[in-house]
């Protein structure tokens, strides 16, 4: 779920000095993050006290034409709950940091808020992963335990592989992913059973396609940057 074409942008945006400075800054940030997010914070820090605010944030992941009729989930002390029943098969939800790759230094960053609206194939095949990972995190499992549990769940086929057409909208202007990328950019995400990214043009300079290979989830994720937030306003292009 980690985002953005920051790598390509950095490469394209300036001279060697800038790259070095950015790299150094990122290293410092990564060190900070490593130091900061070594263990789960108190649960309250991952929850949103205002239920209506969480509903609104979840809906902001997609244009109103999609999210207004979507089912909306909110995170409570024992997992996700349905806050609003839907009519169009989409489900909007604010994911937390533990949906990031396991090697992400901000895996337990309690500030992360990642709203997304899943289409029906993704509801069937991605949402179970969200539920499972959240359940493990909230049960207080360590990152290693979570990794092993998720791997076992896929090995036993308790978690499904992505269906054809599984995708989601992540176009919320209010999204916050990490100290590294902030709110990144508006994008769509597509999931596939794990693929070789070289056949897709992902992460080539200038390509709007970004890729994440997950582990232990046997999933390849493609992020396609788009130019506008869900409210129709233009996203920054730098």
């Amino acid at each position: 779920m980690e985002m953005s074409r920051e790598k390509a942008k950095n490469l394209a945006s300036g001279g060697f000095v800038l790259v070095v400075v950015l790299a150094a800054a990122w290293q410092v940030q990564a060190q900070d993050a490593n130091a900061l997010y070594t263990s789960m914070a108190p649960l309250d820090q991952y929850l949103m006290a205002d239920r209506n605010a969480e509903i609104a944030l979840a809906r902001s992941a997609a244009p109103d034409s999609i999210s207004r009729d979507a089912e909306v989930l909110v995170l409570a002390r024992h997992g996700y709950e349905t806050a609003v029943k839907g009519k169009n098969g989409f489900v909007c939800v604010v994911e937390r940091s533990w949906m990031a790759p396991f090697d992400d230094p901000e895996f337990l960053n309690p500030d992360q808020r990642a709203p997304l609206c899943l289409n029906p194939p993704a509801v069937r095949t991605h949402l179970p992963l969200t539920f499972k990972t959240t359940e493990l995190a909230m049960a207080g499992q360590s990152k290693t335990q979570m990794f092993d549990s998720i791997k076992a769940a896929y090995d036993k086929k308790e978690l499904p592989l992505p269906e054809p057409g599984a995708m989601c909208y992540m176009m919320s202007k209010q999204q916050y992913f990490s100290r590294k990328v902030g709110n990144a950019d508006p994008h769509l995400m597509f999931w596939f059973p794990q693929k070789d990214h070289l056949s897709w043009g992902a992460e080539f300079a200038g390509s709007p396609v970004d890729i994440h290979q997950y582990s232990p989830q046997p999933i390849t994720e493609f992020d396609i940057s788009v130019s506008k937030w869900s409210d129709g306003t233009a996203a920054p292009t730098d």
């Binding site: 394209a12 997609a62 244009p63 109103d64 034409s65 999609i66 169009n88 098969g89 989409f90 609206c117 289409n119 029906p120 194939p121 054809p164 057409g165 995708m167 909208y169 176009m171 769509l188 597509f190 596939f192 059973p193 693929k195 070289l198 056949s199 897709w200 043009g201 080539f204 300079a205 200038g206 390509s207 709007p208 396609v209 493609f222 396609i224 940057s225 788009v226 130019s227 506008k228 869900s230 409210d231 129709g232 292009t237």
Partner: protein, 235 residues
């Protein structure tokens, strides 16, 4: 149609246009290209220009190592061998949906770069349609041939097949700005609502290009040309 955004799929893709276009305009468009024009009008006399145009479909980092096809009088020919598995070509009007009024528009130039999965499972349709067109078949004959081809010979759709169509120099329709920067994803036929296509402010559109072939084409607007400059997004 009022203020509704109308979408017309053309030339291997596209396109949007015409907020409030009148029926008179549509009628004019329909009568403009009733049959195939002289073959020369579809060809590009400058082979290097066609190679360059094909390459503009994707960022240089992708297209510079792609295989490049150009259209000759007997079909597509390999002009440049590739190294990365991508294939870039310039499609013509007959890659539009069969009921598109610009199906025979000889001005259409639709550069696109196929990812390797798309080169395996989508490019054969470009070859087949073009082969039948250049053999002088009627649209009805082509439709019949394509239906049979899709049923018996078309390779299975590779998961995640998509193409880049981010050329600033494309000419996809007589309408509007003639062009739009996008990617095209190919899926088994499914309800467009499953992707939230064609809804207000959605960057996704459903293109009926390959309805006969049993393949859905979802366009995702990128808002960026292949050269990195901003592209208009008319939604």
């Amino acid at each position: 149609m009022g203020q509704t955004l109308r979408i017309f799929a053309l030339a291997g893709s596209v396109l949007v246009v015409a907020l409030g276009a009148t029926s008179q305009m549509r009628a004019q468009s329909k009568t403009s290209y009733p049959s195939m024009a002289a073959l020369d009008q579809y060809l590009m006399p400058d082979r290097n220009a066609e190679i360059a145009l094909a390459r503009t479909a994707a960022p240089d980092s992708i297209s510079r190592d792609a295989k490049i096809l150009v259209l000759g009088s007997h079909g597509y020919e390999t002009a440049v061998e590739g190294k990365n598995g991508f294939v870039c070509a310039v499609e013509r009007g007959w890659m539009a949906p069969f009921d598109n009024p610009e199906f025979w528009n000889p001005k259409i130039r639709g550069p696109l770069c196929f990812t390797p999965p798309a080169a395996r499972s989508i490019l054969p349709m470009t070859y087949k349609r073009t082969e039948m067109v250049l053999a002088g078949q009627s649209k009805d004959q082509i439709m019949e041939g394509i239906a049979a081809f899709a049923k018996k010979e078309l390779p299975p759709l590779a998961p995640g097949a998509f193409t880049y169509m981010m050329s600033k120099e494309a000419y996809l329709t007589d309408r509007g700005d003639h062009n739009i920067a996008h990617l095209m994803f190919y899926t088994p036929v499914m309800d467009g609502a499953v992707w939230g296509a064609d809804l207000p402010k959605s960057p996704v559109m459903l293109n009926p290009q390959f309805a006969l072939e049993g393949i859905d084409v979802f366009m995702v607007l990128t808002g960026m040309w292949s050269d990195g400059t901003l592209a208009p997004v008319n939604n």
